[in-house]
Symmetry: C2
Protein backbone atom coordinates (compact mmCIF):
# COMPACT_ATOMS: atom_id res chain seq x y z
CA UNK A 1 0.00 0.00 0.00
CA UNK A 2 2.55 2.60 -1.05
CA UNK A 3 -0.07 5.28 -1.75
CA UNK A 4 -0.12 6.08 1.98
CA UNK A 5 2.74 7.32 4.08
CA UNK A 6 5.02 4.52 5.35
CA UNK A 7 4.12 5.46 8.92
CA UNK A 8 0.45 5.03 8.21
CA UNK A 9 0.95 1.78 6.31
CA UNK A 10 2.91 0.47 9.28
CA UNK A 11 0.22 1.58 11.73
CA UNK A 12 -2.50 -0.03 9.59
CA UNK A 13 -0.42 -3.23 9.52
CA UNK A 14 -0.06 -3.25 13.30
CA UNK A 15 -3.78 -2.56 13.86
CA UNK A 16 -4.78 -5.32 11.44
CA UNK A 17 -3.02 -7.86 13.67
CA UNK A 18 -5.59 -7.24 16.41
CA UNK A 19 -8.59 -9.57 16.64
CA UNK A 20 -11.75 -8.40 14.90
CA UNK A 21 -9.96 -5.61 13.03
CA UNK A 22 -9.86 -6.09 9.27
CA UNK A 23 -8.13 -3.95 6.64
CA UNK A 24 -11.02 -1.44 6.41
CA UNK A 25 -11.36 -0.95 10.18
CA UNK A 26 -7.57 -0.68 10.50
CA UNK A 27 -7.47 2.02 7.85
CA UNK A 28 -10.38 3.92 9.44
CA UNK A 29 -8.71 3.71 12.87
CA UNK A 30 -5.32 4.82 11.50
CA UNK A 31 -6.80 7.91 9.85
CA UNK A 32 -8.71 8.68 13.03
CA UNK A 33 -5.50 8.38 15.05
CA UNK A 34 -3.54 10.82 12.90
CA UNK A 35 -6.34 13.35 13.40
CA UNK A 36 -6.26 12.93 17.21
CA UNK A 37 -4.37 15.39 19.45
CA UNK A 38 -0.77 14.19 20.01
CA UNK A 39 -1.31 13.86 23.78
CA UNK A 40 -4.31 11.56 23.27
CA UNK A 41 -2.29 9.32 20.97
CA UNK A 42 0.51 9.26 23.55
CA UNK A 43 -1.98 8.35 26.30
CA UNK A 44 -3.31 5.47 24.18
CA UNK A 45 0.21 4.26 23.35
CA UNK A 46 1.37 4.35 26.97
CA UNK A 47 -1.79 2.64 28.22
CA UNK A 48 -0.95 -0.22 25.85
CA UNK A 49 2.57 -0.75 27.14
CA UNK A 50 1.63 -0.01 30.77
CA UNK A 51 -1.12 -2.60 30.76
CA UNK A 52 1.11 -5.19 29.13
CA UNK A 53 4.08 -4.62 31.43
CA UNK A 54 2.40 -4.07 34.79
CA UNK A 55 -0.18 -6.79 35.08
CA UNK A 56 0.19 -9.53 37.67
CA UNK A 57 -1.88 -12.55 38.60
CA UNK A 58 -3.48 -12.55 42.07
CA UNK A 59 -1.56 -15.01 44.27
CA UNK A 60 -4.84 -16.51 45.51
CA UNK A 61 -7.39 -16.58 42.69
CA UNK A 62 -5.07 -15.87 39.70
CA UNK A 63 -7.19 -13.10 38.24
CA UNK A 64 -5.39 -10.23 36.50
CA UNK A 65 -4.56 -7.48 38.98
CA UNK A 66 -2.07 -4.68 39.75
CA UNK A 67 -1.17 -6.00 43.20
CA UNK A 68 -0.04 -9.28 44.73
CA UNK A 69 -3.57 -10.13 45.81
CA UNK A 70 -6.70 -8.81 44.08
CA UNK A 71 -9.33 -6.61 45.66
CA UNK A 72 -11.89 -9.44 45.80
CA UNK A 73 -9.55 -11.85 47.63
CA UNK A 74 -8.51 -9.09 50.06
CA UNK A 75 -12.11 -8.04 50.82
CA UNK A 76 -13.53 -8.99 54.23
CA UNK A 77 -17.06 -8.43 52.86
CA UNK A 78 -16.83 -11.42 50.52
CA UNK A 79 -17.72 -14.98 51.43
CA UNK A 80 -14.39 -16.79 51.18
CA UNK A 81 -15.99 -20.21 51.69
CA UNK A 82 -17.63 -20.10 48.23
CA UNK A 83 -15.34 -20.26 45.21
CA UNK A 84 -16.59 -19.76 41.66
CA UNK A 85 -14.29 -21.37 39.11
CA UNK A 86 -14.09 -19.48 35.80
CA UNK A 87 -11.93 -19.86 32.70
CA UNK A 88 -10.83 -16.23 32.32
CA UNK A 89 -10.73 -12.85 34.08
CA UNK A 90 -13.34 -11.70 31.58
CA UNK A 91 -15.73 -14.38 32.88
CA UNK A 92 -15.04 -13.17 36.42
CA UNK A 93 -15.86 -9.63 35.30
CA UNK A 94 -19.10 -10.84 33.72
CA UNK A 95 -20.27 -12.27 37.07
CA UNK A 96 -19.00 -9.23 38.99
CA UNK A 97 -21.13 -7.01 36.75
CA UNK A 98 -24.27 -8.80 37.99
CA UNK A 99 -23.40 -7.44 41.46
CA UNK A 100 -25.19 -10.43 43.04
CA UNK A 101 -22.37 -12.88 43.66
CA UNK A 102 -20.67 -12.40 47.00
CA UNK A 103 -18.21 -15.30 47.03
CA UNK A 104 -14.67 -15.35 45.67
CA UNK A 105 -13.28 -16.70 42.39
CA UNK A 106 -10.66 -18.97 40.94
CA UNK A 107 -9.44 -18.19 37.42
CA UNK A 108 -8.20 -21.28 35.54
CA UNK A 109 -6.70 -19.38 32.58
CA UNK A 110 -8.07 -21.88 30.12
CA UNK A 111 -9.98 -25.14 29.92
CA UNK A 112 -8.95 -28.73 29.37
CA UNK A 113 -8.83 -29.38 25.62
CA UNK A 114 -7.37 -32.66 24.33
CA UNK A 115 -7.81 -31.22 20.81
CA UNK A 116 -5.48 -28.30 21.55
CA UNK A 117 -3.22 -30.40 23.78
CA UNK A 118 -4.22 -28.51 26.95
CA UNK A 119 -4.25 -30.93 29.88
CA UNK A 120 -5.17 -30.46 33.57
CA UNK A 121 -1.54 -29.48 34.28
CA UNK A 122 -1.73 -26.53 31.88
CA UNK A 123 -4.45 -24.62 33.76
CA UNK A 124 -4.55 -23.40 37.38
CA UNK A 125 -6.07 -26.64 38.74
CA UNK A 126 -3.53 -27.73 41.36
CA UNK A 127 -3.71 -24.16 42.67
CA UNK A 128 -7.48 -24.65 43.07
CA UNK A 129 -6.99 -27.93 44.93
CA UNK A 130 -4.48 -26.21 47.24
CA UNK A 131 -7.11 -23.59 48.15
CA UNK A 132 -9.59 -26.26 49.24
CA UNK A 133 -7.51 -27.02 52.33
CA UNK A 134 -9.00 -23.89 53.88
CA UNK A 135 -12.60 -23.44 55.00
CA UNK A 136 -14.32 -23.97 51.64
CA UNK A 137 -18.00 -25.00 51.64
CA UNK A 138 -18.92 -24.83 47.96
CA UNK A 139 -17.18 -24.76 44.58
CA UNK A 140 -19.38 -23.36 41.80
CA UNK A 141 -18.09 -24.37 38.38
CA UNK A 142 -18.77 -21.58 35.88
CA UNK A 143 -16.63 -22.73 32.97
CA UNK A 144 -18.10 -22.12 29.50
CA UNK A 145 -20.88 -24.28 28.17
CA UNK A 146 -18.53 -25.57 25.42
CA UNK A 147 -17.03 -29.04 25.02
CA UNK A 148 -13.83 -27.85 26.75
CA UNK A 149 -15.75 -26.09 29.49
CA UNK A 150 -17.91 -29.16 30.18
CA UNK A 151 -14.87 -31.47 30.17
CA UNK A 152 -13.14 -29.18 32.65
CA UNK A 153 -16.27 -29.05 34.84
CA UNK A 154 -16.51 -32.85 34.92
CA UNK A 155 -12.81 -33.15 35.71
CA UNK A 156 -12.98 -30.65 38.59
CA UNK A 157 -16.12 -32.27 39.96
CA UNK A 158 -14.44 -35.71 40.09
CA UNK A 159 -11.33 -34.16 41.62
CA UNK A 160 -13.07 -32.26 44.42
CA UNK A 161 -16.10 -34.35 45.40
CA UNK A 162 -14.08 -36.99 47.30
CA UNK A 163 -12.94 -34.19 49.67
CA UNK A 164 -16.57 -33.78 50.77
CA UNK A 165 -16.95 -30.26 49.35
CA UNK A 166 -20.22 -29.33 47.64
CA UNK A 167 -19.65 -28.89 43.90
CA UNK A 168 -22.23 -27.16 41.70
CA UNK A 169 -22.44 -26.16 38.03
CA UNK A 170 -24.14 -23.01 36.75
CA UNK A 171 -27.40 -23.77 34.87
CA UNK A 172 -27.45 -24.26 31.15
CA UNK A 173 -30.58 -23.35 29.17
CA UNK A 174 -32.44 -20.75 27.14
CA UNK A 175 -31.01 -17.23 27.70
CA UNK A 176 -33.43 -14.72 29.25
CA UNK A 177 -35.20 -12.91 26.41
CA UNK A 178 -34.07 -15.65 24.02
CA UNK A 179 -36.40 -16.57 21.19
CA UNK A 180 -36.93 -20.36 21.21
CA UNK A 181 -36.91 -20.67 17.43
CA UNK A 182 -33.47 -19.02 17.24
CA UNK A 183 -31.84 -21.32 19.79
CA UNK A 184 -29.81 -24.40 18.86
CA UNK A 185 -31.09 -27.90 19.57
CA UNK A 186 -28.45 -28.76 22.16
CA UNK A 187 -29.42 -25.74 24.26
CA UNK A 188 -33.11 -26.57 23.89
CA UNK A 189 -32.47 -30.14 25.12
CA UNK A 190 -30.36 -28.83 28.02
CA UNK A 191 -33.17 -26.46 28.98
CA UNK A 192 -35.60 -29.39 28.92
CA UNK A 193 -33.35 -31.64 31.01
CA UNK A 194 -32.73 -28.87 33.50
CA UNK A 195 -36.42 -27.93 33.88
CA UNK A 196 -37.55 -26.91 37.36
CA UNK A 197 -40.98 -27.22 38.91
CA UNK A 198 -42.88 -23.92 39.23
CA UNK B 1 -14.90 -1.33 36.49
CA UNK B 2 -12.76 -2.02 39.52
CA UNK B 3 -12.88 -5.80 39.04
CA UNK B 4 -10.08 -5.47 36.51
CA UNK B 5 -6.63 -4.12 37.10
CA UNK B 6 -6.41 -0.31 36.89
CA UNK B 7 -4.01 -0.63 33.97
CA UNK B 8 -6.52 -2.72 32.06
CA UNK B 9 -9.43 -0.46 32.94
CA UNK B 10 -7.41 2.48 31.68
CA UNK B 11 -6.49 0.64 28.47
CA UNK B 12 -10.13 -0.34 27.90
CA UNK B 13 -11.11 3.30 28.44
CA UNK B 14 -8.56 4.51 25.89
CA UNK B 15 -9.59 1.89 23.31
CA UNK B 16 -13.28 2.74 23.75
CA UNK B 17 -12.56 6.28 22.57
CA UNK B 18 -11.69 4.97 19.10
CA UNK B 19 -14.42 4.97 16.44
CA UNK B 20 -16.34 1.71 16.03
CA UNK B 21 -14.94 0.21 19.23
CA UNK B 22 -17.57 -0.34 21.93
CA UNK B 23 -17.09 -1.59 25.50
CA UNK B 24 -17.10 -5.28 24.49
CA UNK B 25 -14.59 -4.88 21.65
CA UNK B 26 -12.40 -2.70 23.87
CA UNK B 27 -12.36 -5.37 26.57
CA UNK B 28 -11.63 -8.14 24.06
CA UNK B 29 -8.79 -6.09 22.54
CA UNK B 30 -7.35 -5.21 25.97
CA UNK B 31 -7.22 -8.85 27.04
CA UNK B 32 -5.68 -9.77 23.72
CA UNK B 33 -3.04 -7.07 24.16
CA UNK B 34 -1.96 -8.28 27.60
CA UNK B 35 -1.47 -11.75 26.11
CA UNK B 36 0.71 -10.41 23.28
CA UNK B 37 4.54 -10.52 23.44
CA UNK B 38 5.89 -7.29 25.00
CA UNK B 39 7.82 -6.40 21.83
CA UNK B 40 4.65 -6.64 19.71
CA UNK B 41 2.82 -4.30 22.09
CA UNK B 42 5.76 -1.89 21.94
CA UNK B 43 5.73 -2.03 18.12
CA UNK B 44 2.02 -1.21 18.11
CA UNK B 45 2.45 1.62 20.62
CA UNK B 46 5.34 3.19 18.74
CA UNK B 47 3.56 2.87 15.38
CA UNK B 48 0.75 4.94 16.90
CA UNK B 49 2.96 7.80 18.05
CA UNK B 50 5.23 7.60 14.98
CA UNK B 51 2.31 7.88 12.60
CA UNK B 52 0.79 10.77 14.54
CA UNK B 53 4.03 12.72 14.83
CA UNK B 54 5.66 12.15 11.46
CA UNK B 55 2.96 12.69 8.91
CA UNK B 56 3.12 15.63 6.54
CA UNK B 57 0.89 16.90 3.77
CA UNK B 58 2.29 16.83 0.22
CA UNK B 59 3.14 20.40 -0.80
CA UNK B 60 1.44 19.89 -4.18
CA UNK B 61 -1.64 17.67 -3.71
CA UNK B 62 -1.99 17.78 0.11
CA UNK B 63 -2.27 14.03 0.54
CA UNK B 64 -0.75 12.51 3.68
CA UNK B 65 2.87 11.57 3.10
CA UNK B 66 6.25 11.18 4.86
CA UNK B 67 8.07 13.57 2.55
CA UNK B 68 7.63 17.14 1.30
CA UNK B 69 6.09 15.91 -1.94
CA UNK B 70 4.24 12.60 -2.32
CA UNK B 71 5.31 9.74 -4.58
CA UNK B 72 2.44 10.37 -7.01
CA UNK B 73 3.28 14.06 -7.48
CA UNK B 74 6.99 13.24 -7.92
CA UNK B 75 6.36 10.46 -10.46
CA UNK B 76 7.24 11.17 -14.09
CA UNK B 77 4.99 8.27 -15.16
CA UNK B 78 1.83 10.05 -14.09
CA UNK B 79 -0.17 12.45 -16.24
CA UNK B 80 0.20 15.76 -14.41
CA UNK B 81 -2.31 17.49 -16.68
CA UNK B 82 -5.23 15.55 -15.16
CA UNK B 83 -6.12 16.29 -11.55
CA UNK B 84 -8.67 14.24 -9.62
CA UNK B 85 -10.13 16.20 -6.71
CA UNK B 86 -11.00 14.04 -3.67
CA UNK B 87 -12.15 14.83 -0.13
CA UNK B 88 -9.66 12.66 1.79
CA UNK B 89 -6.46 10.64 1.42
CA UNK B 90 -8.62 7.53 1.89
CA UNK B 91 -10.57 8.44 -1.24
CA UNK B 92 -7.27 8.86 -3.09
CA UNK B 93 -6.22 5.40 -1.88
CA UNK B 94 -9.53 3.93 -3.07
CA UNK B 95 -8.84 5.17 -6.61
CA UNK B 96 -5.17 4.15 -6.45
CA UNK B 97 -6.28 0.60 -5.58
CA UNK B 98 -8.09 0.39 -8.91
CA UNK B 99 -4.66 0.77 -10.57
CA UNK B 100 -6.34 2.34 -13.62
CA UNK B 101 -6.06 6.04 -12.93
CA UNK B 102 -2.86 7.58 -14.18
CA UNK B 103 -3.38 11.25 -13.39
CA UNK B 104 -2.55 13.10 -10.19
CA UNK B 105 -4.77 14.12 -7.27
CA UNK B 106 -5.78 17.06 -5.13
CA UNK B 107 -6.95 16.30 -1.59
CA UNK B 108 -9.39 18.90 -0.23
CA UNK B 109 -9.40 17.60 3.36
CA UNK B 110 -13.12 18.00 3.66
CA UNK B 111 -16.12 19.26 1.76
CA UNK B 112 -18.14 22.47 1.89
CA UNK B 113 -20.85 22.06 4.53
CA UNK B 114 -22.94 25.07 5.57
CA UNK B 115 -24.51 22.82 8.25
CA UNK B 116 -21.13 22.21 9.90
CA UNK B 117 -19.90 25.72 9.16
CA UNK B 118 -17.25 24.52 6.69
CA UNK B 119 -16.87 27.06 3.93
CA UNK B 120 -14.72 27.15 0.77
CA UNK B 121 -11.89 28.74 2.78
CA UNK B 122 -11.71 25.80 5.18
CA UNK B 123 -10.71 23.22 2.57
CA UNK B 124 -7.74 23.17 0.16
CA UNK B 125 -9.58 25.04 -2.61
CA UNK B 126 -7.35 28.05 -3.21
CA UNK B 127 -4.43 25.59 -3.36
CA UNK B 128 -6.32 23.77 -6.17
CA UNK B 129 -6.89 27.03 -8.05
CA UNK B 130 -3.16 27.86 -7.71
CA UNK B 131 -2.29 24.52 -9.36
CA UNK B 132 -4.42 25.32 -12.40
CA UNK B 133 -1.92 27.96 -13.55
CA UNK B 134 0.24 25.08 -14.81
CA UNK B 135 -0.51 22.85 -17.79
CA UNK B 136 -3.81 21.32 -16.57
CA UNK B 137 -6.21 19.88 -19.16
CA UNK B 138 -8.89 18.26 -16.99
CA UNK B 139 -10.12 18.40 -13.41
CA UNK B 140 -12.12 15.30 -12.40
CA UNK B 141 -14.26 15.97 -9.35
CA UNK B 142 -14.49 12.82 -7.22
CA UNK B 143 -15.99 14.23 -4.04
CA UNK B 144 -18.52 11.98 -2.28
CA UNK B 145 -22.01 11.59 -3.62
CA UNK B 146 -23.39 13.28 -0.47
CA UNK B 147 -25.02 16.70 -0.12
CA UNK B 148 -21.66 18.17 0.95
CA UNK B 149 -19.77 16.37 -1.83
CA UNK B 150 -22.25 17.57 -4.48
CA UNK B 151 -22.19 21.14 -3.15
CA UNK B 152 -18.38 21.11 -3.29
CA UNK B 153 -18.44 19.66 -6.81
CA UNK B 154 -20.79 22.41 -8.01
CA UNK B 155 -18.67 25.08 -6.33
CA UNK B 156 -15.44 23.82 -7.90
CA UNK B 157 -17.07 23.52 -11.31
CA UNK B 158 -18.23 27.14 -11.22
CA UNK B 159 -14.82 28.26 -9.97
CA UNK B 160 -12.77 26.49 -12.62
CA UNK B 161 -14.87 26.49 -15.80
CA UNK B 162 -14.30 30.18 -16.58
CA UNK B 163 -10.57 29.37 -16.88
CA UNK B 164 -11.39 27.15 -19.87
CA UNK B 165 -10.32 23.90 -18.19
CA UNK B 166 -12.44 20.78 -18.75
CA UNK B 167 -14.25 19.83 -15.54
CA UNK B 168 -15.86 16.41 -15.11
CA UNK B 169 -17.68 14.59 -12.29
CA UNK B 170 -17.41 10.84 -11.62
CA UNK B 171 -20.63 9.00 -12.51
CA UNK B 172 -23.31 8.37 -9.94
CA UNK B 173 -25.52 5.26 -10.25
CA UNK B 174 -26.14 1.68 -9.28
CA UNK B 175 -22.98 0.01 -7.87
CA UNK B 176 -21.65 -2.95 -9.87
CA UNK B 177 -23.21 -6.11 -8.43
CA UNK B 178 -25.84 -3.98 -6.70
CA UNK B 179 -29.32 -5.40 -6.33
CA UNK B 180 -31.83 -2.84 -7.67
CA UNK B 181 -34.40 -3.56 -4.96
CA UNK B 182 -31.86 -2.76 -2.24
CA UNK B 183 -30.86 0.60 -3.67
CA UNK B 184 -32.32 3.90 -2.51
CA UNK B 185 -34.61 5.95 -4.76
CA UNK B 186 -32.22 8.86 -5.19
CA UNK B 187 -29.52 6.53 -6.54
CA UNK B 188 -32.05 4.84 -8.85
CA UNK B 189 -33.11 8.22 -10.25
CA UNK B 190 -29.46 9.25 -10.69
CA UNK B 191 -28.76 6.02 -12.54
CA UNK B 192 -31.75 6.73 -14.81
CA UNK B 193 -30.70 10.33 -15.48
CA UNK B 194 -27.16 9.25 -16.20
CA UNK B 195 -28.14 6.43 -18.56
CA UNK B 196 -25.86 5.87 -21.56
CA UNK B 197 -26.72 4.44 -24.94
CA UNK B 198 -25.45 0.89 -25.53
Amino acid sequence: MDYFSDHISKLIGELEKLPGIGPKSASRLAFHIIDMPVEDVEALASSLTDARKNIKLCKTCFTITDEDECRICRSSHRDHSTIMVVETTRDLAAYEKTGKYNGVYHVLHGAISPMLGIGPGDIKLKELVARLKGDVKEVIIATNSSLEGETTAMYISKLIKPAGIKVSRIASGVPVGGDLECIDEVTLLRALEGRVEI
